[in-house]
């Protein structure tokens, strides 16, 4: 069987890629993709921990499903915000959205 640590390293790598996208990229859509990567890393962690640490307790799987659903709700709100900004400014770059100082 594949050891637990492989999954954890994979998840941590995925999380870091997402983190990098959020911190380093300027396009709001790419930042959103980074956030989704972070959430998916969490899902991998949850399912792996469920399988290896406490397989009798279903909480890990249920939590992963919850994260799915909530991520979808977040994406829906995000797309709505992005579209309404893009329609007026022709850009969703975080650098150009600077009416107020950061």
């Amino acid at each position: 069987m594949i050891p637990l640590s492989w999954y954890l390293i994979f998840a941590a790598a995925l999380f870091s890629i997402g983190l990098f996208a959020v911190l380093a990229r300027r396009n709001a859509i790419v930042i959103l993709m980074g956030i989704e990567l972070m959430l998916n890393a969490v899902n991998i962690n949850l399912v792996a921990f469920w399988r290896y640490v406490n397989p009798e307790l279903i909480a890990g799987q249920v939590f992963a499903v919850m994260v799915f659903a909530v991520a979808a709700a977040e994406v829906a709100v995000a797309l709505a915000i992005f579209i309404s900004i893009y329609r007026r400014r022709r850009s969703v770059s975080a650098d150009e959205i600077d009416l107020m100082k950061w």
Partner: protein
């Protein structure tokens, strides 16, 4: 651990190898007479016009967003369906409550005209 995965590794190597082989053979021995018509995205379809990055009505996005929302809720139905018999009446009532809440959102979107074209 690794021995169990040898067949899978063999399969992966064979599959990729075969794919490369087929493409390579076609590339090497096949006749090639490119014409402008052949280079089009859809050779027998409508003639393309305008750039590919055309603006689309914002309505498509609205439908897409609603699709994401209602589509992802299916994820809760699947586990429920699997243990439906053990949960019995209680599970059924819970699921009905869940669907009613979804329905509220659906009726709201409907009345607001999110599904109308024009």
């Amino acid at each position: 651990m690794p021995q169990e995965y040898i067949p899978i590794a063999v399969l992966i190597i064979l599959a990729t190898g075969l794919a490369f082989l087929v493409v390579a053979i076609g590339h090497l021995f096949g006749p090639r007479r490119p014409t402008q018509r052949k280079g089009q995205p859809y050779e027998s379809g409508m003639r393309p016009f305008g750039p590919g990055t055309r603006r689309m009505p914002v309505h498509f996005y609205l439908v897409a967003v609603l699709f994401i929302l209602f589509d992802i809720e299916v994820v809760f139905f699947l586990p429920w369906a699997i243990v439906f018999r053990q949960l019995g009446l209680f599970g059924l009532i819970e699921m009905i409550i869940f669907i009613v809440i979804l329905l509220v959102g659906y009726i709201y979107a409907w009345k607001k005209g999110a599904f109308e074209w024009e």
